[in-house]
C-alpha cells in the first residue's frame, strides 16, 4: 500500500492546519454571551492594545475582546500547541506512542508543585518554578526507579512513572487534606480540575516565553528525533550521540508541561492523543509530525475550551472535558495502533 494523498502532501496539510487554527482563534473571539462582530473585533485589534487602554474599562466590547477573550484564547492555543508538541517529542524519544507527560510522572509532579505553591501563597512565577521543579523531580524519580530495576527500558520507565505518579497523587491528596477548607481548598480543587478562566496577560507571558523557547528547540531538533527510533547501537554507528540529546529534549518537554500546569492546572490527554492523530494524518516522520501536532493541539484545546465556556450556564472545567473525550479517543487509537502503524518491540 502506498501513501495516502494527505501524507503525500505534508506541507499543504500543515499549512491547512495553521490556517484552520487562525480561523478558530478568530471564531473564538466572536464566541460568547456578549456578541461582538468580526468588524468590531478587527477594529479593536487594529487600533487598541490591552496594555494601553483607550478610553476606559466602561468600553464593553474592548474589555470583552482585549481583557477577557484574547488572553484566554492565546493561553489556550499556546498550551494546546505546547502539550501536543511535547507529547510528540516524548513519544519519539521513548519510541513509544503510548508515552506522554501524564504517564512518566511529569504531570503529577508538576501538579503537586502547583498545589504546594498555592498553599504557600507563592506568586504566579513561583507556581511555574515549583511546577517545573517537581515535574522534573517526578521524571527523575521515575528514571532512577527504572534504572534500579535494571535497564532503563520503556516498559520499566512507564511502570516506574505509574508508581511515581500515584505517589505524587497521594501527596496532592495530603496537601488538600491539610489545606484551609475556606480559603485554599476551593482554589486548589478548581485549579486541579483545569481551567483557563483565570487567563491574564501575565500568565500568557509565562506560557508564551516557555513554550516558544522550549518549543523552538524541539522544532529545531525535530528531524533528529527520528533517530531515536533506531536501536542505540544502530544510532551510534550513524555517528549520533543520543544520550545528551535525550536530556535536552526531556528538559524542554518538562518546561512546557510545567508552564501549562502552572497556569491552567490539570489538562490531561492532549500530549497523548494529539500526536497520535497527527501521526495517523501525516505519518511518523517527526519533521512533519511536530509542527502538525502543534497546530492540531492548538485546534483541539481551543475547540474544547470553546465548548467548556459556551455549553450551559456555568463553565465546565476543561480538564474534565479533555479527560472525558480523551480517554475513549485514546482507547480507539490504542486499538488502531495495535492493528497497524506501530510495531511492538
Amino acid at each position: 500500500m502506498s501513501l495516502n494523498p494527505v501524507r503525500r502532501h505534508p506541507n499543504a496539510t500543515i499549512l491547512f492546519l495553521f490556517v484552520a487554527l487562525v480561523a478558530l482563534m478568530i471564531f473564538s473571539l466572536m464566541l460568547g454571551r456578549y456578541p461582538v462582530t468580526l468588524r468590531e473585533i478587527a477594529h479593536i485589534l487594529a487600533t487598541t492594545s490591552p496594555l494601553h487602554a483607550v478610553g476606559n474599562y466602561t468600553n464593553v466590547p474592548w474589555v470583552v475582546i482585549e481583557i477577557v477573550r484574547l488572553p484566554r484564547i492565546l493561553m489556550v492555543t499556546l498550551c494546546g500547541m505546547g502539550l501536543a508538541l511535547a507529547g510528540a517529542a516524548m513519544q519519539g524519544i521513548f519510541r513509544n506512542p503510548l508515552v506522554g507527560p501524564d504517564v512518566v510522572g511529569v504531570s503529577q509532579g508538576a501538579a503537586f508543585g502547583g498545589v504546594l505553591a498555592i498553599i504557600l501563597a507563592l506568586s504566579p512565577m513561583g507556581i511555574v518554578g515549583m511546577a517545573f521543579a517537581l515535574g522534573m523531580a517526578g521524571l527523575l524519580m521515575a528514571f532512577l526507579l527504572a534504572k534500579l530495576a535494571g535497564k532503563a527500558s520503556t516498559l520499566a520507565l512507564v511502570l516506574s512513572g505509574v508508581i511515581i505518579g500515584s505517589f505524587f497523587g497521594s501527596l496532592v491528596g495530603l496537601a488538600q487534606y491539610v489545606a484551609d477548607p475556606q480559603t485554599q481548598l476551593p482554589s486548589i480543587i478548581y485549579w486541579l480540575l483545569g481551567s483557563f478562566a483565570g487567563a491574564t496577560y501575565a500568565k500568557v507571558a509565562i506560557v508564551a516565553t516557555v513554550t516558544l523557547v522550549a518549543g523552538s528547540v524541539l522544532l529545531l531538533l525535530r528531524w533528529r528525533i527520528n533517530l531515536f527510533s533506531l536501536r542505540e547501537v544502530d544510532a551510534s554507528a550513524l555517528g549520533t550521540n543520543l544520550d545528551r540529546l535525550r536530556w535536552v529534549i526531556i528538559t524542554c518537554v518538562v518546561l512546557i508541561v510545567a508552564a501549562q500546569v502552572s497556569v491552567s492546572g490539570g489538562v490531561g490527554w492532549v500530549g497523548l492523543i494529539i500526536p497520535h492523530a497527527a501521526r495517523m494524518l501525516l505519518g511518523p516522520e517527526h519533521k512533519k509530525l511536530l509542527p502538525a501536532s502543534a497546530f492540531l493541539g492548538g485546534l483541539y484545546l481551543l475547540g474544547m475550551d470553546d465548548v467548556a465556556r459556551s455549553v450551559g450556564n456555568q463553565e465546565i472545567p476543561i480538564g474534565l472535558l479533555t479527560g472525558v473525550v480523551g480517554a475513549p479517543v485514546f482507547a480507539l487509537l490504542f486499538w488502531k495502533t495495535q492493528t497497524k502503524g506501530w510495531i511492538d518491540e
Partner: protein, 258 residues
Amino acid sequence: MNSIAIQFENLGHAYRSGEWIFQQYAAQVPAGKVFALLGPNGCGKTTLLKILLGALTPSTGKCKVDGRVGFVPQIFQVSFDYTALEMVLMGRARQIGLFSSPTRRDREAALAAMERFGITHLASRPFHELSGGQRQLVIFARALVSEAQVLILDEPTSALDLKNQVLILNWIQRLSRQDGLTVFFTTHHPQHALAIADETMLMLEESKYASGPPAQVMSEANLQALYGVEMRQVAFDYRGVLVTTLVPVLVSSTAAGA
C-alpha cells in the same frame, strides 16, 4: 589498497561475573576486503561487533576501525512506520547538522543510493510493508548514503529466503569489489563465507580461534569442532567452474535404518 581498515589485538570481553565470553582474539582486515566471522550461538559474535561499532568497551585489548562505519543489524526494528526513503535518509545523520533537516542534496543522495539497489520504486512505501529482502536492501542503501567506508553486518542473510540470500551475498561482494568498501559480517552459513569472504575467523573456544583465507580455515575438522556436527566439503562442476561448498551431514531416519 593495502591499508588496514579493521584491526584488533588481545581483544577480550567478560560478563559482569568475570566469566570470559572470549579473550586474546586478534585480526587484521585489509581495506576493501570481505571478512566473515563464524561461531556458534552465544560465542560472542554480536559482542565483538558491538565493540567494533564502539557501542561496547572491551574488557581487554585494543580495537581500531579506520573510516566511517555503516551498520546493518540482524533484525531491523523501528518503532514507527517510516517510509523506505525516510529510513534511507536517516543514514545522512552525520552529514546533517544538529538543528537541520535533510536538504534536497540529501534526498538526491538517498534516492541515488536506492536506485543503486534497484529499490527507488519502494521510496514512498512504509518500511514495515516491505519483504525481508527489500528491507535489507533499504538498510544497505542507508549504509551507502552515510558514505560508509567500512560496512559491519550482523547475520545479514539470517531472515531471508534462498533467493534473497543470494541477492544480498552478491551485493556484499559488489560493494567490496566495485566500491572498495571493507565488509565485516557474521554468519551461520559456512558456505556463504566460503563463497564471498577473503578472510574468515572461526570462534572455536573462549581463547581459541582460527583465521585466514576461507579455503584454508574452513576445513571439515575445524567446522566440526566449531559446531559439533559432522560437516562435509562438496565440490562439483558448474558450467565449467569448480564450486566448493560445505554442508552439515543430515541423514533421514529412514535412510539411516535402511
